[in-house]
């Protein structure tokens, strides 16, 4: 048993960094605080790699399976004797893998930002928030129990909120951040309810206990049925709702494209590589429960994933803002991962999808980060987000061009780049369990290749655009990360994930199945080809197509009007038809009754003044009648 207790510093360090930069940041020199943040992340990266190495290669296995190691754990808040929130560090294949992913990408982004954000005001603020995010994300993946995960889940949400709204004077940015927070918050409501139901049934939050395939949670956790589904299924569906929100799956995807309002490094880090895959991670984390005692929920995962990936891919083909294209591609790639999980089963060869999904998560982090950072470099150079205003940039930005190309090839799944391997595993998994989904993913693979190269060609080739000041290659602080990540894209494909990260921790034997791999490569090439024809040179084909399929194009271009739908619901229904009436009701009914009581009293007191008429004899009359009334009352009526 190796001592992992030092891992506490992995999340703690960024937190301290955040406090330092947040409280004293404005006193330090911006440069210095940037270096602080980056340095901190560097240390963490080192620590994570050490941890990964120790875990995978020196920690002993029990009958060939990696063990879940609770490095340390302390009770943070006691609810009941069974239910308590702990804070701690849980090490198992996926969390360790996530450590590597997060620290690497985050480190890259930090370095990149040193250049990218150089003359932005609020430089130190930016790094403070980045540290906050790193802290929350690391805390999330290392969570030992579902409630700790929820805590950091919320923190991740808020730090993404802050970072999206980094340019807080830009109304669009503010709107986007608000949207992102509220949408995910709504999803998290589902997560919380899920947790409540789950904990009520299983009387525990602890992951190890929950996900133990032979533990009580899974074996007799099913609980009573409610509306035809077992309570466990319900809870897992609710939990998944949280994942849907964070990972921008349909129908909670609307925040992701707008989130591109944030600085590009942020998009790379949060909205491509790390945070958005939290949903996938969540499902993977709870996977045994999904697989063994809530298969229906798992189906939901699969279909949601498949649909989102297709949906996003289609939209991506029509967008012109390069960051939005990347955003939709992110969504569709995550759809892949979800699908992969959805079609997987627990243990043995069933677990292929699980492994594939984690694998794809890993590779995707690399190439998507690379894409975003590349896009950042491009935007940095031309000061525009729209590919319609770009073209022929290959001579101005050679490094960016090459790395971007590598990334595009990777995502298109061209061997021997990493994307090919992971995607192939996913397709294989889909093929073995559900032919329809397999077909869908096949199409998506083609679409992906198409829109990525549409992007690539129209940026770096296409029409020769005149720039009012010639674009120039980004500084080294920005190009170096690009190169590193590009290398990552090339090599990571050869990491033996089937030996390291599997659903049950045991080694999973799998080899590339040619009759799936070859067609997938072909369809990728096909997509590239079409893109080449349409966008390599200036051509009228795209416009023609747009005109011929006018309505459908319009429909797709406007993202199927989902945003408008949401806007309608929130603005019109909630605001106009619930809260305003409530406010009105409160003023004019509840409050009015209170006032009415007072007014009635006043009124009565005014009406009865006549008794005090000042006429002695009237007084006397009332006196006599009073006496006689009392007499009658108590002699005859109420004796």
């Amino acid at each position: 048993m190796i001592n992992f207790s030092y891992t506490i510093w992995i999340p703690l360090l960024p937190f301290l960094m955040f406090l330092l930069l947040g409280l004293a940041g404005h006193k330090l020199k911006p440069k210095l605080s940037g270096l602080f943040g980056t340095g901190g992340l560097g240390i963490i990266t080192v620590l994570s790699y050490i941890t990964a190495f120790k875990y995978f290669f020196t920690s002993e296995k029990v009958d060939g399976a990696y063990q879940k190691i609770t490095a340390l754990n302390f009770t943070w808040l006691q609810f009941t004797d069974k239910l308590h929130i702990d804070l701690g560090v849980l090490l198992d294949p996926i969390s360790v893998m996530m450590l590597v992913v997060i620290s690497t990408v985050s480190f890259m982004v930090h370095i990149y930002s040193l250049g990218y954000m150089k003359d932005e005001k609020g430089f130190e603020r930016f790094f403070a928030f980045l540290s906050l995010f790193s802290f929350s994300m690391l805390g999330l993946v290392l969570a030992t129990n579902i409630f700790q995960m929820y805590i950091f889940w919320e923190l991740v949400g808020v730090s993404s909120f802050i970072l999206i709204g980094f340019y807080y004077q830009k109304p669009s940015a503010v709107r986007a951040s608000k949207k992102a927070f509220i949408v995910t918050r709504f999803a998290d409501l589902g997560f919380l309810i899920g947790i409540l139901i789950l904990s009520f049934n299983t009387k525990t939050f602890d992951f190890i206990t929950l996900t133990n395939p032979t533990g009580s949670a899974i074996t007799q956790g099913g609980g009573i049925a409610f509306l035809g589904l077992s309570v466990m299924t319900w809870s897992m569906i609710f939990v998944f709702m949280g994942g849907v929100g964070k990972s921008a799956m349909f129908p909670f995807h609307i925040w992701l494209p707008d989130a591109m309002e944030g600085p590009t490094p942020v998009s790379a880090l949060i909205h491509a590589a790390t945070m958005v895959v939290a949903g996938v991670y969540l499902v993977a984390r709870m996977f045994p429960i999904y697989a063994l005692s809530a298969p229906v929920a798992l189906k939901v995962v699969a279909y949601v994933g498949a649909f989102s990936s297709l949906f996003a891919a289609v939209i991506a083909c029509t967008q012109t803002d390069i960051k939005r294209v990347l955003a939709y591609s992110t969504m569709s790639q995550i759809g892949y991962m979800m699908l992969a999980l959805g079609v997987a089963g627990y243990g043995g060869h069933e677990g292929l999808g699980y492994m594939a999904s984690m694998f794809h998560l890993f590779t995707h982090a690399m190439f998507k980060a690379l894409l975003f950072l590349g896009a950042g470099a491009i935007i940095h150079a031309v000061h525009s987000n729209y590919m319609t205003e770009m073209g022929g940039l290959r001579k101005y930005l050679p490094v960016t061009h090459i790395t971007f190309l590598i990334a595009c090839l990777t995502i298109a799944g061209i061997p021997p780049l990493s994307g090919f391997f992971s995607k192939d595993e996913i397709l294989a998994a889909a093929f073995h369990s559900n032919k329809i989904l397999f077909a869908v993913e096949y199409a998506v693979a083609g679409l992906t290749a198409f829109y990525m190269f549409r992007l690539y060609f129209s940026i770096f080739w296409g029409k020769e655009t005149q720039y009012h000041h010639t674009p120039h290659e980004a500084p080294a602080t920005m190009t170096v990360p690009l190169i590193i990540l590009a290398i990552g894209c090339i090599i990571t494909g050869f990491i033996p994930f089937n030996k390291l990260v599997t659903s049950d921790g045991k080694i999973l034997e799998s080899e590339i199945e040619m009759m799936i791999a070859i067609p997938s490569v072909l369809i990728g090439l096909l997509g590239i080809g079409i893109a080449y024809i349409m966008y390599k040179k200036e051509s009228a084909i795209p416009e023609k197509l747009a005109v011929t399929f006018k309505y459908s194009y319009k429909w797709v271009y406007n993202k199927f009007y989902i945003d408008e739908l949401y806007l309608f619901v929130t603005k019109k229904i909630i605001f106009r038809f619930i809260s305003e009436p409530v406010a009105w009701f409160d003023r004019h009914v509840v409050d009015a009754t209170m006032n009415a009581i007072a007014n009635v009293t006043q009124n009565v007191s005014f009406r009865i003044r006549g008794f005090q008429s000042g006429q002695l004899q009237k007084y006397a009359f009332i006196f006599i009648t009073g006496a006689i009334m009392l007499a009658i009352l108590f002699i005859y009526l109420w004796k």
């Binding site: 003044r609 005090q612 008429s613 000042g614 006429q615 002695l616 004899q617 006397a620 009359f621 006599i624």
Partner: protein, 105 residues
């Protein structure tokens, strides 16, 4: 020693006087008359006392004495009342009770 008149007659007389007094108090407009009707009430009470004493409890004289005191007190009461009425007349130049209503509501 029974003088033949049954007690009921006295009581009926007293009651009539009482209500006559009350009626007078309520209807008469002249303060003096109102005062007189008060006296009427008091006297009806006296008759009650005397009758009860004479017929029911002849061996004690409480009723008798009580009515004597009532008469005395009524006299003093009347004295004060009339003094005030005179003052009223000075101030309002009338002793019509309806005009004496500056204080109301």
């Amino acid at each position: 020693m029974n003088s033949g008149i049954p007690i009921q007659y006295f009581l009926i007389l007293a009651t009539i006087m009482f209500f006559a007094g009350v009626y007078g108090f309520l209807t008469r407009r002249n303060l003096i008359t109102i005062l007189m009707s008060v006296e009427l009430i008091l006297n009806s009470v006296n008759i009650n006392f005397l009758a009860f004493n004479r017929y029911l409890y002849p061996h004690k004289l409480e009723g008798m004495f009580f009515s004597l005191f009532i008469i005395a007190v009524a006299a003093s009461e009347a004295a004060v009342a009339i003094a005030i009425i005179i003052n009223i007349y000075r101030r309002f130049t009338t002793i019509n009770v309806e005009d004496v209503n500056e204080l109301k509501f």
